[in-house]
């Protein structure tokens, strides 16, 4: 401990009460982390949660402060994982998507998306493996280009048409922007062009607009 004192709370959040104060010079053991809070244990065996920034005022065995991970805008430029939700219009039908991705380099990210688009007469479930390239990853508003390959399962029920129930391979070309919002949120606006390789004579092309957000860590 190198600060005058740090406050220990009963839970990992600023809304939980402070119940103990660790004084300067006292040794603490770091147990685990949840969001921005670290669970610590004192020499006397009391455990509680301290805010992560206070670790920068805590010296390790080598007499140097604990190295903190980047956060906020710095983390946006230097994150490795993304999770996100988006809503959109898939060929005029309401769609909902989930995305998870891993960033290998600042420019290159690989991930998968699962979507479902539902209307009164048709339902499509779509899964893609996607590769995303960001030419300018340090920009607050960063454009990206994406290619994907996957499958689409569609069912159609209507009195007029033949009922349809098929699974086809599908290719994806997408472009859009990531917008850093604050903390670990970024907004995402994208246009997806799906090429569905049907077993019929001609391939189908569907356009999709999506708006959503990703969290990064």
């Amino acid at each position: 401990m190198d600060d005058a004192y740090i406050e220990m709370r009963t839970g990992p959040g600023r809304g939980f009460p402070v119940f103990h104060v660790v004084e300067k010079g006292e040794a603490i053991t770091l147990l685990k982390k949840r969001t921005d809070w670290v669970k610590v244990k004192t020499k006397r065996g009391q455990s509680g949660w301290v805010y992560r920034h206070q670790l920068a005022l805590t010296l390790g065995p080598d007499q140097l402060p604990v190295t903190l991970k980047p956060s906020g805008r710095d983390l946006y430029e230097d994150h490795s994982w993304e999770l996100g939700l988006a809503m959109g219009q898939f060929g005029g039908v309401d769609s909902l998507s989930f995305y998870a991705g891993h960033r290998f380099t600042p420019n290159l990210q690989m991930g998968f998306s699962l979507s479902q688009a539902t209307s009164r007469i048709a339902d499509s479930k779509i899964g893609y493996l996607r590769l995303q390239h960001q030419p300018w990853p340090h920009w607050r508003i960063a454009p990206f280009f994406e290619l994907g390959a996957g499958a689409i399962h569609s069912t159609k029920r209507s009195a007029l048409d033949q009922p349809l129930d098929s699974t086809d391979a599908s290719l994806l070309i997408a472009t859009g922007v990531n917008i850093y919002l604050s903390r670990s949120f970024m907004g995402r606006l994208e246009y997806n062009n799906h090429r569905i390789l049907t077993s019929r004579d001609e391939n189908e092309e569907v356009s999709e607009w999506k708006v959503g957000f990703n969290v990064f860590f």
Binding site: P12, K33, R52
Partner: protein, 216 residues
């Protein structure tokens, strides 16, 4: 300081020309180092080395009141990622079986088959922890607790039809330890439904659940 000494030593090793003064200093220091410093690895601590516990997984069981039908009890699965102390992302999946509707009993509607009575849903929501705090039970128990709200969208399969569904709700969570918790919540599932070609309308399906979850 340490790293400076190491650098000096290293550059001395690979024979880089050094300023004479620095060389003197490094020589004396390296000799001193050998005498004074015990053979002990001094560990540097980084935040990255800490085990993080931002994911939560759990089960719940609850009652859903399905509009126009008798309600039913059903189980569900829940997974969440905690973005910060305030926000979390969550996904839910659950199943219910609709009971009889008054229209089926009184005639007018053909009966649904057992398969069509299956009500399965999933949703993806953004949640916000509203009132973190503590609850006290008797004199010597205090548990952390929080009230939360969620909102999002998903999909419902009912009467062999898919429906784009909006979901929102609120709940209360009590932590027995810092990694296991019990939650009680109420949610509403809203979608536009057309039953066997009749009766197109927006329906509200209210749900009350109790669940257990663990952080990992």
């Amino acid at each position: 300081m340490e790293s400076w000494i190491q650098r000096v030593l290293l550059s001395a090793l690979i024979g880089l020309p050094m300023a004479a003064a620095a060389q003197d200093q490094s020589n004396t220091e390296s000799v001193l180092d050998k005498i004074v410093t015990p053979d002990m690895e001094r560990r540097h601590i980084e935040e990255d080395q800490l085990d993080t516990e931002d994911f939560e997984i759990g089960v719940f069981y609850g009652y859903m009141s399905i509009e126009d039908f008798a309600g039913s009890w059903g189980p569900g699965l829940r997974a969440a990622y905690h973005i910060s102390e305030d926000f979390f992302l969550e996904g839910n999946y659950g199943q219910h079986t609709a009971g009889l509707s008054s229209a089926e009993i009184g005639g007018g509607l053909p009966s649904l088959t057992d398969e069509q009575r299956q009500y399965t849903y999933y949703n993806l929501n953004l949640g916000y922890n509203l009132f973190p705090g503590e609850v006290f039970i008797s004199d010597d128990w205090a548990f952390n607790s929080t009230f939360y709200i969620v909102g999002g969208a998903g999909n419902t399969t009912f009467a062999e039809n898919q429906h784009f569904t909006y979901s929102f709700g609120a709940g209360f969570k009590i932590y027995f330890t810092d990694w296991i918790n019990l939650h009680i919540d109420a949610r509403n599932h809203v979608f536009e439904r057309e039953l066997l070609g009749y009766n197109k309308k927006w329906v509200n399906n209210m749900q009350a659940n109790v669940g257990l979850a663990i952080f990992f």
